[in-house]
Amino acid sequence: MKSKNKIIVGVFIALMGLASCSKYLDINKSPLTATEVEPKLLFGYAITAWDANKNSGDSWLPISLFTQNIASGGDYGWGKENVYSLGPYMLGNTWKVYYSTAGNNLKQAIAIAETSEPVNNNAAAQCKIVLAQLMYEATTLYGDVPFSEAWDAVNFPYPKYDPQKDVFEGVLGLLDEAKGQIDPNNDLKISDYDVYYHGDMDAWTALANSIKLKVLMTMVDKDPTKAEDIGELVSNPSTLISSAEEAWVHPYFDKTDNENPKYRLLKEYTNGENQWFFANTNVFKFMEPHNDPRIPQFFDKGPKATGYKAVESEVLADETTSLISAYLYRKDAPSPILTYQETLFFEAEAYARGLGVAKNLSTAQDLFKRGVEAAMNFYEADPSGIQTYLANELPDLATSADPVKEIHIQQWIDLMDRPTEAFTQWRRSGPEGSEIPELKRPSGATSGPLIRRLTLSPDEISANPSIPSPLPRYTDKVWFDE
């Protein structure tokens, strides 16, 4: 055989020898991902993705428009696509955040925290408290939702839909579980990535209690037995959020990419200016007669206006209509999740209604006044204006024909920039037809009753055979809604 041929044969054999090696195929590990992470890394992503959604075009924008606490200005503004037309994106993307993007990462973080050595109980508790709020929001928006069988793809590929009451109970249970795990003396916790409380575990306990109060207040009309638990919490106000500093607030910054998502939407399209969202009569009408000091904080006058003017939902706005303020849509506007004023209003409501405590309008008035003051301070209203309002304009619950209504009006105003909470507050505020405020169907929306819930995510409908049948319509009431 010629040497040339030997070379050829050698090359052939070498090529085959290379391939016979099973190591050759053992390359299926991504160089760009990790298989183990700390809980805080997942927590950090989950809370950021969740809050971004909450302030984005998938949640804040459509819910605000259909809850009617901001106005779209008809064709003059954003347009009408979000009025009672629940697009698959808002339904689907918001659902994805609750269960996957945020929810599942919190579940993973909890599992990692509870199985690590030593066990990181505080981190697990921090994740559980956030997850409880997530599920509270999910059920208030979507009604009956998966909870007991959620996040367990292996055992429950098609999670069942728990009745809303059970979900609320589950949320309360999760909060109690978290409280039980908290150990303020243990330094093992999420601290630097805890953008809310920087690892202050006492603040987390107060937060867990305050969420419990909110959940119970949402349940109590349908389940009066909850009054007892409400009474226990409001009788011990120090266990709740008891100062503006303890409020649960997600921060944003005056720094590129770290701005509040509402500002980012405007930045993307209109150079950061709000040209699309207007003052809604449904809120403004409660503020204007009392010269509410929040008016200049909430609204900017129209470019050709001398005074403030609101429009109803879907009514054509013009250059004299007041816009939602640049202040609310500023870059570093924080995203409140549960505030001091909300807690105070709940406490006031409990005393005004006698929920688990003796009805006491005087105590209620005190809490109500502190709540209004905290609310005005939160939005940085003019201090002298606040004092004038509190002195001259604040309704006196003791003499008011309907003290609970006065509280609900203040709750409604306070939540103008927080549509998810406002939508729940409105439904909670009275039986159908007697809600505060009274809303009417916006023009252009399909005829029929007002919207009372979100319909289910199309992705979930197509992939989960356990969905309720018949499918809920947006006019159907959820359990807590009378």
Binding site: L15, I27, L32, D75, Y99, D257, T446
Partner: protein, 1050 residues
């Protein structure tokens, strides 16, 4: 073990290098019956391995050993002849044509050339002249309508845009599961696409097959069924296209050929606009359509009603409104393309070479867009000895494209919506001359709310460009130690980089602070095939055997690095450090497979043919326990006409039946088995970005997320089974040819990320699930109604019908979403149906089928999600007529599609914004036909007029009311027309020029019939790489081209 056996076998065979001692030399010439020389004829000494081939003059010379008695002269398509040597030194041979058989050679899997008659499955071959007679810059488009069962769709009118190929229907439930394998000179190459206008990428950067130059291609053979491609294993599951490049002719002098075309393009169809109304909105208080600069639409006052009034236009001028009916048409330019190819080829007795240089220079139909493509190809072969030969084939491509338009939605730079949305009262020249403030350099917006960009601002400043550098090469070494034994190795590589840049200038609506994105894609594929071929024609009388044993290694790596930089400090300075926000993203994938295969072919008396193949692949991407899969295939053919030929069946020139069965498996993409946490810097922000940069934020410096798709370490290969029957018949001296094929393919255990209830925490999970079946038949008919010396007329028809059915999904699931569009539109798989279009339908009364109308607004009511129909055609038909008269050839190809549905987002926009023709004219509010539900639940005929036609069209054509924008996708197209003239050869005697042909070529000439208004029903938003189609959102209009061509050979 298999490899060891092979190598042992190889060693043994090499030891038989026994040489013959004494020799004598004989020579001669081989001609056909007309006396024409036949090159490439095989001349061998009977009973030995000694042999040679004739050169280009038909001559051969051969050293024959003493004792040899005869030589065998064989050539495909001719009857083999054996000549006694006796004492002759010069043996001239005349070979007779074998009219009973097809003289057609088909390049089959792994580049194995086989006679068509021996093949047990259907294939279609398109020769070079078909590819170059009406040249397309994307060679894939040249296949449209020319091969039954092969569907080609140009995805958009983007210069250098992508084309999609589907062979015998989609066989996968995986969104990116349509992957036809392309092989060039034995080397498998990438046809990757980066989606046309999908939700994730709005720019059509083309498909990689478009990198090739049509002038360098000798033939393209489409292998359709699994039996045809079984030797390629998993990767050819969806069919394969085997490309052979042109070679030089051995023993010929250097020849030069020049082929030049110039081509002009314009939009095939543009929307029909109304020309009656200006921009504005309907005011419910005044009940009037009022003019307003805020709106870019057609819902303003009737132009003729306000002829006595002056209005402020976007430049601030006070003008009287007037319609500009051609403002959109005048926006588009005439595109011009120059195609130039020069090729040098030739060879000596032992070598051949061909060098090709191609240049394509194109200017698009939209201003500021152009593309340059250059190809340099080499194909050189050399016989080192009688036994050892090699071939090197390589090509380098460079594409430099500028101004690729953004399409679809959620991108501020979408050009079609910016142009189609121009109010009818705008003069395009005024728009063109007023897009930038000459003093401040800022954009002059057309609308007062500054949310829509001036199209000329987009074209001039917000460009998407890319540069591709690609090298494809393969080296083949063949050793033939014995006449019956061939050992060959083919090693090849395909490497490319694609550098993409997108700029958005500061001051652009939607991105007011400016942004740019750089994406660098890199891909490398290395493939090696080692093959041993054993031919045995004399082992058993009347039987011939051919055994191929092979081994394959394939390694594919891709990487991407993408940096998105936003918030620029200095205008138009596109440097990362000038950007306040930077989002870098890395991607990487590496996958390998190793395969061994064998192919045993047998024939009996050239009448019966049988092929059995087997291949085993080992995949890197599947769990080790189940990463191996064996694919068998059997195919056979029976030339029954051979038995009939002397029995009065003269009218039957040729008759063959064939059948095949095959099973193939396929793997997964890389890294889908481990539970992985990915670092992320972005979150989803609706209307801002699906990947809006946010981390680091505050103390959260880095963030991780678990997987969206739940991995599964129990996966096994996906399996596909197919069988096929066919007949190939030729009548009346081959003047009628009929080729019929029936096939049935089922893909089981699809490897798909099937949607799971999101409440599990995951969007989907990887499973082996579902099966999908494609059955169909294909008919190719050739007719030559007239054939005389000077004139011939031939008709070719290609018919194919494919019926797809989803047989099962996973238990409990009847619907699976394969791909999503905007506004709730989805492509879904439903058990019992083909992949279809799903979206929001209007509510109907079940009893009468009439629409339900909202009693207050008079509008239809949007209801639940519904299926609108299959996205694929029921059948396709291509009819080509060709007339030849002396040197003239005229041909025309008509392409017909029947069935399927099509959604148009462009139509939605045009109608909802009051721009479409049908929204003009009389705008008296109509009473929509339908029923209104009364308080008691009863239904009565609607009598409520809509409030305004703006409301009516706003509801009817709203993009998320899918039903209003769904149309029948059937069409009839005149796909190409070609007229050419070959100058008579006698003109060139003693001339340096040896031949010349001039021609007129036109492609995508005429949309003869379509049910879709305003746009071409072939557009596709999902892009060439997706199984999804039948949906369009603001796509670039497809183009019609007319060109002139000159071909010279020297």
């Amino acid at each position: 073990m298999k490899q060891k056996l092979l190598s042992l076998f190889l060693m043994c065979t090499l030891l038989f290098g026994a040489a013959y001692a004494q020799e004598r030399r004989i020579s001669g010439k081989v001609t056909d019956e007309k006396g024409e020389a036949l090159p490439g004829v095989s001349v061998t000494v009977v009973g030995t391995t000694v042999g040679t081939q004739t050169d280009s003059n038909g001559t051969y010379a051969l050293n024959v050993p003493n004792g040899a008695t005869s030589i065998s002269i064989s050539y495909i398509g001719f009857i083999t002849k054996v000549e006694e040597i006796q004492s002759r030194d010069n043996i001239n041979v005349v070979l007779a044509e074998n009219t009973a058989q097809l003289d057609e050679v088909v390049v089959t899997a792994l580049g194995i050339s086989r006679e068509a008659k021996s093949i047990g499955y259907a294939s279609s071959t398109i020769k070079s002249e078909e590819l170059t007679k009406a040249r397309e810059s994307n060679v894939l488009n040249s296949l449209a309508g020319k091969a039954p069962g092969v569907r080609i769709n140009s995805q958009s009118g983007t210069l250098g845009g992508s084309s999609k190929i589907v062979i015998r229907g989609i066989n996968s439930l995986d969104a990116s599961g349509n992957n036809v394998l392309f092989v060039i000179d034995g080397m498998t190459i990438s046809n990757s696409t980066s989606a046309g206008g999908t939700t994730s990428n709005n720019v059509d950067y083309g498909n990689r097959l478009g990198d090739l130059s049509a002038d360098d291609i000798e033939s393209m053979t489409v292998l359709k069924g699994a039996a045809a491609t079984a030797l390629y294993g998993s990767r050819a599951r969806d069919g394969a296209v085997i490309i052979t490049t042109k070679r030089g002719v051995r023993g010929s002098k250097t020849s030069v050929s020049v082929n030049s075309s110039v081509r002009f393009e314009n939009p095939l169809i543009l929307p029909d606009f109304q020309n009656d109304y200006a921009q504005g909105t309907y005011n419910e208080d005044t009940k009037k359509y009022e003019y307003s600069l805020k709106y870019l639409n057609g819902w303003g006052p009737k132009i003729s009603d306000v002829a006595d009034q002056k209005f402020t236009d976007f430049t601030g001028d006070e003008v009287t409104l007037q319609a500009y009916p051609n403002n959109v048409k005048d926006f588009f330019d005439t595109g011009v393309s120059y195609f130039n190819n020069i090729a040098f080829s030739g060879g000596d007795d032992k070598s051949d070479y061909r060098l090709g240089l191609s240049a394509v220079n194109e200017k698009g139909i939209i201003p500021e867009s152009n593309l340059k493509k250059y190809n340099f190809t080499v194909n050189a072969g050399r016989n080192f000895s009688d036994k050892l030969s090699s071939r090197f084939s390589a090509g380098y491509t460079r594409i430099d494209a500028e101004g690729r338009p953004a399409q679809s939605s959620n991108n501020t730079n979408i050009i079609t919506s910016a142009v189609y949305g121009l109010p009818r009262v705008l003069d395009i020249n005024k728009v063109k001359n007023n897009f930038e403030d000459p003093e401040t350099g800022s954009q002059i917006f057309i609308g007062t709310d500054k949310t829509a960009n001036n199209p000329y601002w987009i074209l001039n400043y917000n460009k998407n460009n890319n540069v591709v550098d690609r090298f494809i090469g393969s080296y083949n070494l063949t050793y033939k130690p014995l006449e019956w034994l061939t050992i060959a190795d083919n090693l090849g590589g395909d490497i490319y980089t694609d550098k993409r840049t997108s700029f958005t200038r500061k001051g652009t609506a939607g991105v007011t602070n400016g942004r740019f994105t750089n994406t660098n894609l890199w891909s490398r594929e290395i493939n090696n095939d080692f093959m041993v071929t054993i031919d045995q024609d004399h082992l058993v009388e009347d039987f011939k055997f051919k055994l191929i044993l092979g081994h394959n290694i394939n390694d594919r790596q891709t990487s991407s690095d993408n940096v998105d930089a936003a918030d620029l400090t200095i205008d138009q300075l596109y440097n990362y450090t000038n950007a306040a926000s930077k989002t870098p993203t890395l991607g990487f994938s590496k996958r390998r497979l190793v395969g061994v295969y064998g192919d045993l072919g047998m024939s009996y008396k050239e009448i019966l043919f049988l092929n059995v193949t087997g291949r085993n692949d080992w995949f890197s991407t599947l769990p080790k326990a189940s990463n191996s899969y064996f694919y068998p295939s059997v195919s056979g053919s029976f030339i029954f006409s051979e038995l009939l030929k002397d029995n009065g069946f003269d009218w039957l020139s040729y008759g063959k039946v064939r059948a095949s069965w095959a099973s193939v498996g396929s793997d997964l993409t890389a890294y889908n088995l481990d539970y992985q946490y990915s670092p992320v810097s972005t979150v989803f922000l609706q209307y801002v970005s699906s990947s809006a940069n946010i981390f680091p934020i505050g103390n959260i410096t880095t963030a991780f997320t678990g997987p969206r798709i739940l991995p599964n370490d129990q996966l096994k290969p996906q399996r596909q089974f197919s069988h096929e029957f066919g007949a190939d018949l030729k009548f009346l001296d081959n003047r009628i040819g009929l080729d019929f094929t029936y096939y049935n393919t089922i893909t089981k255990d699809n490897l798909i990320p099937i949607d799971v209830a999101i409440s599990t925490g995951y969007f989907s999970k990887y499973v082996n699930a579902g099966s999908i079946r494609n059955t169909g038949f294909e008919v190719a008919l050739n007719l030559v109604p007239v054939r005389t010396t000077d004139f011939s007329w031939s008709i070719t028809g290609n018919f194919s019908r494919n019926k797809q059915r989803v047989v099962e999904l996973i238990e409990g699931v009847n619907l699976y979403s394969v791909a999503s569009g905007w506004s709730g539109l989805q492509i879904q798989a439903e058990v019992g149906e083909s992949l279809g279009l799903y979206g929001t339908a209007f509510l109907r009364d079940e009893a009468t089928g009439q629409y339900l109308i909202d009693g207050e607004s008079g509008l239809k009511i949007a209801g639940d999600v519904k299926r609108f129909g299959s996205i694929y055609p029921d059948w396709m038909l291509g009819i080509n007529n060709e007339f030849r008269y002396k040197g003239f050839t005229l041909s025309g190809l008509i392409d017909i599609r029947h069935g399927g549905v099509f959604y148009s987002g462009t139509v939605s926009d045009l109608r909802a914004s009051g721009m479409a023709f049908e929204t003009g004219g009389d705008r008296t509010p109509i009473v929509d036909k339908g029923l209104v539900e009364q308080g008691d639940g009863s239904l009565v005929e609607n009598t409520t007029p809509v409030k305004s036609m703006q409301d009516y069209w706003g509801n009817q054509a709203k993009s998320d009311n899918t039903e209003g924008n769904v149309f029948d996708a059937s069409y009839v197209k005149l796909r190409e027309v070609m007229l050419s003239y070959s100058l008579p050869a006698k003109l060139f005697k003693r001339n340096i020029i040896k031949g010349a042909q001039i021609g007129l070529e036109a492609r995508n000439v005429w949309l003869i019939k379509s049910h879709v208004p305003h746009v071409d029903p072939e557009l596709n938003f999902f892009g060439a790489g997706s199984v999804g189609e039948g949906v369009e959102f603001n796509s670039m209009p497809s183009t019609r081209s007319i060109g002139f061509n000159v071909r010279l050979s020297f």
